[in-house]
Each structure stands twice: as C-alpha cells, then as structure tokens.
C-alpha cells in the first residue's frame, strides 16, 4: 500500500495529530492482549467522530486497503492484531457517553467508552450495564460489541448481544448506517445479531445503544472452599439442578488460588483444592432463601469452609482474587497461555480430570479459572519460554484442551473470540459448508474482504461479484493480505 498517498488523503479529513506514521509510535500498536502475535501497522489513525471513521474506511475501500478497528487492545485472540499493509483505526478518542435515558433504560455511547465507566456513571441512578468482562476497567464497549463479550454475571444476565439494541455502523464500504435503536424489533433482518460478535469483520461501530439494567435490591456472595475440583463441580451441579440460577458461579483450582494469593493476597481459605464464588442477586426475599439453599448444597458436596461476604468490601475481596487471576499467574510462571473453551456444564468433572491427566502426561502445569455456571473454562497453561521446548509443549496442551472441548460437545471459544489465534481451529468445529455460509454473510457486508482480514476464517472466500477480480488464488492471499491456513 502507498502510505504516503493515503496519509495525504486522510490528513485533511482528520484532526491534527490523528494520523500516525512514525515507526516508533506505530510499534506501540503492534499487538493486543495476546502479545505473541505482533504486526506493525502501516498507518494508525485516531478519529474523533463517526464521519471521520467513515471517511477513513471509504478511503480504504476505494483503494482496497485493509483496515482493523481497535478499542482498548485488551482482546485475547489477536482480534485487533494490525495488518502490515493496512490501517489501524483506534477508537480511544471516541469516549463520550452521549446519552443516559433512564426512562427508556438505555444509554447511547461512543465505542471507546470504557465498560466500567458506563456503570459507574449510571449506578447512582440505580442502573448499570450488565455485561462485566474481568477486563471491564479498561476494555471498550466497541470491543465488547465486536467480541460479544461475557463476564461472570452473564450466567444470569446474558452476553453483550442481549444488551445492545442499536448501533451506528460504518460498513466496510464506508457507508454510515443505523441499525436498531432504543425501540426493539426494527423491521427486517436482525443485522444487529449478525454484527455483534463478528469481531470487527462486518464494520466499525461508531455509536452503541445499550440496555441498562436495574441494580438488584439485594446481592449476596459466598466463597466456599472444597478439597478438590470434583467436589466443587458437584456443588455446581446441585445448585443448577435445583433450578437456581445465581448471578455468577466461578471456580478456581489450587494452582490458580496460589497465584491469586501471591499477587493480591485475597486470603482464601488455606488448603483449598478449589474455591467457588457464588453470587445471588434479585429481590431480597428470594435471595435470602436461595442463599441458604446454596450454602447447604456446598456443604453437602464437601465444602469445608463457607464465608459469606458481610459487606461490599468483603465481596470485593472475594472477587479480587478471581478477577485478577489471569495476571496473577505471572507470579508463579514466567509465561502462560490463557485458554478459553466451553463444555456442557455437566461435563465439568470429566473435563477437569482429563485436563489434569494431560498436564501430568506432558509435564505442563495448568491452572484452572472458570465461569463454572456456564461451562466456560479458562485453563492457564504455564511455561517458561527460556527453557527450550516448553513453549511448544504448552501450545500442544493448550490445543489438546480445545480438542477436548469440541469432543465434549462444546466450543473453541466462549468469550475471547476466534481472532487470529483460533481461525485454525474453526474447521474442527464447523464444516467447510458452515464456514462458507458464514462468509456469504461477510460478502454482503464486505465484498472486497478488507475489514479485519485473516481473522475468524481460516480460508478467505471469494465474494463472486467484485469487479475486476479473477479466479484462482484469493486476491487477498495473492496480495499478501491474508494467509491460507
């Protein structure tokens, strides 16, 4: 791509300093939260308005130049990995909360707004934004939309897709469209449903209308310590089997607890082989009753200590250990892979046993942290890159865990997305026809394949009617814009 020519076109339509070409500064954007993949983008732009985003995308579309959107860059699948011959569109300057409409239980925000910032703004009015990824202090709503992010409380409240009612979208052709709004069920296809979770491959969200959720009347949180993950898993099955849907059920195993203690001194019960954090929220009368029930299930399953948070400070301490677990693992291992897979909840004991077996057999330590209520595992595979061969072994174990998830009827990703990292696994979960059909939808939005190419799909698809294209190798592959796995 001709960087100078594009810079000349973009500079006049963007605010001063919003076009970055300096190599040192470009390098600061070379990776997202998955630092093992690094690519320095040809150009970075930092627009401030939807019209500016549209102008950048239109300029890319005209020239067939790939573009990648970036929010806060916390993604864990290389979704915001830049393109060496493309433009990285950074949305961090679009950080205004445009409207809080309590009467309609909606907020309208720019894509760069930080997840927690929205809840902090609306909480005094008795409302919050329910999807709560552990990264909520830094990740952006636009990134959440692209990844259909989840969080601990999604067990009860659902994922991002259930909380987005409208989008302003710049399509890969550079059109600025509105889909949905504050009212439900706009006539026509559910384009919102297609765009949320599409990892930046169907366009760039420049404004997001979200549902706000009433803060619950009552919240109760307990921390239960078990001798091992089997007994903790048994407690989870009893709770769900009894028809109780807590707001969250989170599990950590011994190694994850060890890491969290080292990092944030959360003071979990000593000697626990597993802990569960269970949170109930809702109407006070219900919560009180069901909380007693849950304590009983935990005891019956073998919990040797149950702590009940007496106030918000203690609740925060319970959660601190859990929410800092990924980073905490850095305390017990120089390097680690954060895996994200899903299994049917009832397969939890089997999955954990087999992960342990894998770990023993390959001599690779695995710490387990997960959203136990919905079977979303986050095994942390530990290794030391300085020791020859360890990284490869860790990579193998991590891959074997994904195969295990598929075999048990689950998914290769529950919330971190496919991105660059897992495109190669997609054919293990989907047939060529499944992937082809998904890519037909992509063709409708992005016929020239310039929106975040190389992500999600292992093999790009020809869209048929792009003028001037020819058969044979995919033009993106030929141009070195995409890889064929």
């Amino acid at each position: 791509m001709d960087v100078e020519a594009l810079t000349a076109v973009l500079t006049p339509v963007l605010p001063e300093g919003a076009v970055i070409t300096d190599h040192q500064r470009l390098r600061t954007y070379e990776c997202d939260g998955l630092a093992q993949y690094r690519v320095v983008p040809a150009l970075v732009v930092v627009p401030e308005t939807a019209e500016q985003v549209a102008a950048v995308v239109a300029a890319c579309a005209e020239r067939g130049i790939p573009f990648v959107a970036r929010g806060s860059g916390t993604g864990l699948s290389g979704g915001a990995l830049p393109h060496a011959d493309g433009v990285l569109i950074v949305l961090s300057r679009m950080r205004a909360i445009l409207e809080i409409d309590r009467a309609n239980q909606r907020a309208v925000v720019e894509p760069g707004v930080i997840n927690l910032q929205l809840s902090n703004t609306t909480r005094p009015d008795g409302y919050y934004y329910a999807p709560d990824p552990s990264s909520q202090q830094v990740c952006s709503i636009g990134g959440n939309v692209a990844e259909n992010s989840g969080g601990a409380h999604c067990l009860k409240y659902g994922f991002t897709t259930g909380h987005v009612t409208g989008l302003e979208l710049v399509t890969p052709a550079g059109e600025l469209l509105r889909i949905g709004g504050k009212a439900p069920d706009a006539p026509g296809y559910d384009l919102l449903g297609a765009v949320v979770g599409s990892e930046g491959t169907l366009g760039i969200a420049t404004s997001v209308t979200v549902r706000l959720t009433r803060t619950p009347e009552s919240v109760e949180t307990l921390l239960a310590a078990f001798p091992d993950t089997d007994t903790a898993g048994q407690a989870v099955s009893s709770i769900i089997g009894a028809g109780v849907i807590p707001a969250a059920i989170e599990m950590m195993d011994a190694l994850a607890i060890e890491a969290a203690e080292a990092a944030v001194h959360c003071g979990y019960p000593a000697g626990a082989g597993a802990v569960l954090i269970v949170e109930l929220d809702g109407a006070a009368a219900e919560v009180r009753h069901q909380f007693d029930q849950i304590s009983e299930y935990c005891t019956a399953a073998g919990a040797f200590e149950i702590r009940i948070a007496q106030d918000d400070a203690e609740r925060a301490l319970f959660w601190k250990g859990r929410k800092s677990a990924f980073a905490a693992v850095g305390r017990i291992s120089p390097d680690y892979i954060v895996q994200d897979g899903v299994i049917p909840r009832t397969a939890l004991p089997e999955a954990l046993r087999r992960i342990t077996a894998l770990s023993v057999e390959r001599g690779v330590r695995v710490a387990n942290v997960f959203h136990a209520g919905d079977g979303n595992l986050h095994p942390l595979v530990l290794f030391d890159d300085a020791v020859p061969g360890e990284a490869e072994r860790a990579e193998e174990v991590s891959g074997a865990i994904i195969d295990l998830c598929i075999e048990l009827g689950g998914s290769i990703t529950g919330e971190h997305g496919v991105g660059s990292d897992k495109a190669k696994y997609m054919p293990r979960m989907f047939t060529a026809d499944d992937l082809d059909t998904m890519q037909l939808v992509r063709c409708a939005f992005d016929p020239s394949g310039i929106a975040n190419p190389g992500k999600i799909f292992p093999t790009p698809r020809m869209c048929g009617e792009v003028p001037g294209r020819h058969q044979g190798a995919h033009p993106l592959v030929e141009a070195g814009l995409a890889e064929q796995f």
């Binding site: 309590r102 009467a103 309609n104 259909n148 989840g150 999604c154 659902g158 897709t161 259930g162 399509t171 059109e175 469209l177 889909i179 504050k182 009212a183 439900p184 069920d185 706009a186 026509g188 296809y189 559910d190 384009l191 449903g193 297609a194 979770g197 009433r214 009347e217 089997g241 028809g243 849907i245 109407a283 009368a285 219900e286 009753h289 069901q290 899903v342 299994i343 049917p344 909840r345 009832t346 959203h371 919905d374 079977g375 689950g410 998914s411 290769i412 990703t413 529950g414 971190h416 496919v418 989907f430 047939t431 499944d434 059909t437 998904m438 037909l440 939808v441 992509r442 409708a444 999600i456």
Partner: protein, 430 residues
C-alpha cells in the same frame, strides 16, 4: 431455465422427499396464492434434496410449520412448493443438567413444553401454542415473558439451516456460551423463511419457577399507563411480564406476572399491589386476554414497536388514528418491552379498505415524529402489518420504511441469489 411442468417435476420432488409429496389444495394457498405441490421431507437431507430440485428448476418455495402465522409478510410473488416441516419434529436431545434442548424445527411448541415440563423446565416463550419451533424462530414472535427472558433470538443457541441451493450449514452449538463464528441463528430469527430453511434448533431452557402470581390494575388514562409502566420497570419487582390491554371501547388494564419461590413471590406481590395502587388485585390466574392476540379472527393486525417511555404517545396516537378513520382499534401487548399488537376491527373496515390504508399511513407518520416533544411526540418505533386479507394487503405497504434495507438486500442476495425462498414476502420485496 425451462418452464417446469407438473409431470416432470413431481417425480423429482417425490424422490427428494422420499414420496412425501402431494398436489397443493385450497387450504395450501398463501395470501390467496395457490401452490402446486406440498412436500414434507422427514429430515435435513430431505430438505436439502427438495431445495436442490427447487434451486435447479427455479421454483419458489414457502416454508410452512404449523401454518399459524403464514399470513404474515407480503404476499409471495410466486409460489410453487410449500415445504412442510411438520415431520421434522424430533426432540433430538434434552440435556436437562445443561438446560438446553436440540429440537427439530417442526416440533410443536406445546409438545416441546410438555417434554420439558417433565424435568420442571421450559422454553421461555409463552403461552404454549400450536405453532412449531421453526415457525416461532422464523417469525421471532415471543410472548409476554420476553420482558424477563429476552426475545426469541436470545434463546436460540444454535441452528441448522438448509440454504436455498441445498447446502446444509450449522452455526452456534449446544452450549449457551459460545462466540465461535457468526451467529447465523440471529440472522435467521425473524427472517420469515427468506434466508434458509431452519431444520433444527438448539435452545436454552429455564427452570420452571415454583410459584407465580398475577397483579392486575385498571388504567384510567394514557398518562396513567405510562406512569404504571415506569413504576414497574424502575422497581425491584423483577416482573416476568408486564402487559397492557386497551380495548377500543372499554377500560384498559395493566397486568404483571411475578415468578419465583413462594415467599419471594408473596413479598413482591404485596409490593406490586402497593405500587400499582387503586384497584390493583392479585390472582393466581392471568386475565382472560393474557398472551392472546387482540381483536377477532379476520381483523387486520399490526405490530407496533415503541420506546418504553413512549407509552402515552403510542396510545394517544392509536386513539387519534382510530377516531380519524372511524375504525375501532384494540391494542394489547408488552408495553415494558416496547411491542404491542393493534387489531383493526373487521366489521368496520371490510367495506372500506382505503380507511385501513389511511389509518396505517397516519400511524406511521405520527409514530415517526421525533420522540419527546411534549404531548405531540412520536414513539421511536415502527408499524408493520401482520394479518390482513390479501385485498387489503394489496393496498398497504406491509413493512413501512426499513432502515439499512440495502444491506439486507445484499444479505439475501448472497444467501439466495435466485430468490427461491419466499420471493417477495419480506421487507423491500426481498
């Protein structure tokens, strides 16, 4: 493409559907348009084989489940084959411990609820109806409990579809939490059979709550309706549903449903009685109108959406339009979600379709005014015609203005370029 004749195609369709084909009769017409054949394949490969024939021969196919909502949408432009899904009615898997089920698209909803009820679980769409699961997904027509459990699309976690060219494709899976690949289930939800034939659906389930109560209150004005809805949504009642019934010639009623464990429901019922105020009553049973369509069979029915804070504007606009056209209008629906159905009474409009068309235009114009301008504001929502006799439909714009229509056309064009599936039925003539 040669014009196919009955004699050469019947054997091919019969082969594809393992003999389950017959000629269409009067009862098979869609919006007055007769069909030539009705095929009833028994499985996904059968659906694929039928669609391959249709695709090769340029036949137009309309999918039919229970046939309860077949009148929705614009009349099809062409119609050759009705693809009847009622034999795809298996309960493929009910993993009670995982709160999910995988179900053939042709399974009736009342049968499905009975299957799940045995495990004290349910598919959170109410009330149980005669229609099929596939039909429900294709129409996205949930019931009152949508307030708590979300729209149909949020309950669909995986789908198997057959494309217009016969290719079978899956998306999603059998676990609730899953972000691998595009969520085609959402795109199919509400697509009225124009993007693909849904043959199997994986859904998330919910436990049946041990106790429930309804609290009902008379509504004295459109402002009162708004105040009640605001009261409910901002409270801690956690209502499962909040429904308004506004008959054309009678007093309006608001009713909410509460679910949970006995002591919790009792405490919240007491809270609801206090919140809703004068005349509020609690009951174990819903009001007679709960979860049913307003009006009578034969009425023209419209789906109106609105911002939840625009209840007063919505009701005022409907009343004004009704007076203006001298057509009585009944309104009922989920005012705390923002979707209601309006029924235009048949006896009064049969002789005057122009009045109906005029009423619809007037509603659209009024609803699309900017929201909030005190008293005279719009609703922020849309007006879509659902049921209407073919002659009335012919005079109406069924869908009204559709934002992002061009992009929708591109989606249709990619998935069904030769327009095999229900040509003309969807927005913008898709």
């Amino acid at each position: 493409m040669s014009t196919p004749t009955a004699t050469d195609l019947l054997p091919r369709l019969s082969d594809a559907a393992a003999g389950a084909v017959r000629e269409g009769g009067d009862g098979d017409a869609v919006d007055g348009m007769p069909c030539r054949w009705v095929v009833s394949p028994a499985d996904t490969p059968g659906v694929s084989a039928v669609l391959r024939v249709a695709h090769d021969e340029g036949l137009a196919v309309v999918v039919r489940g229970g046939g309860t909502k077949l009148g929705w949408g614009s009349p099809p432009e062409r119609l050759d084959v009705i693809l009847d899904t009622t034999r795809l009615d298996g309960l493929v898997d009910h993993a009670a411990g995982d709160l999910i089920a995988v179900v053939g698209a042709g399974r009736r909803l009342d049968d499905l609820q009975a299957d799940l009820g045995a495990a004290s679980q349910w598919f959170a769409v109410d009330p149980a109806r005669r229609g099929t699961l596939g039909g429900l997904v294709a129409t996205a027509d949930g019931g009152p409990s949508r307030l708590l459990y979300g729209p149909v699309r949020d309950l669909v976690i995986g789908a198997t579809m057959v494309r217009a060219d016969g290719v079978v494709a899956k998306s999603g899976g059998k676990v609730v939490k899953n972000v691998a690949g595009y969520d085609l289930g959402k795109l199919l939800t509400g697509s009225l059979g124009t993007l693909g034939v849904i043959t199997e659906v994986a859904v998330r389930l919910h436990p049946v709550a041990p106790a429930h109560r309804y609290v009902t209150v008379p509504v004295v004005s459109t402002r009162h309706a708004h105040a009640l809805v605001q009261g409910v949504i901002h409270s801690h009642l956690v209502a499962t549903a909040c429904e308004l019934d506004q008959p054309a010639d009678g007093a309006a009623t608001l009713a909410i449903r509460l679910d949970g464990i006995r002591p919790g429901v009792e405490a919240r019922t007491a809270g609801a009685l206090e919140l809703l105020g004068a005349g509020a009553e609690a009951s174990d049973d819903p009001p007679a109108w709960w979860g049913t369509e307003p009006g009578a069979p034969g009425d023209v029915r419209l789906k109106l959406t609105h911002e939840i804070a625009s209840v007063t504007a919505l009701l005022d606009i409907v009343a004004e339009a009704s007076d203006r056209a001298s057509v009585p209008v009944d309104v009922r629906g989920s005012v705390a979600v923002g979707t209601v159905t309006a029924a235009l009474r048949a006896a009064h409009h049969q002789h005057d379709r122009a009045a109906v068309a005029d009423l619809v235009d007037h509603l659209r114009a009024a609803c699309s005014r900017s929201v909030g301008a005190s008293g005279a504001g719009g609703t922020g929502g849309s007006v879509v015609v659902r049921d209407a006799d073919p002659e009335t439909k012919a005079r109406l714009d069924v869908w009204g203005p559709v934002p992002a229509l061009d992009l929708m056309r591109r989606v249709k064009h990619q998935l069904d370029p030769t327009r095999v599936l229900a040509p003309g039925r969807f927005v913008g003539g898709i």
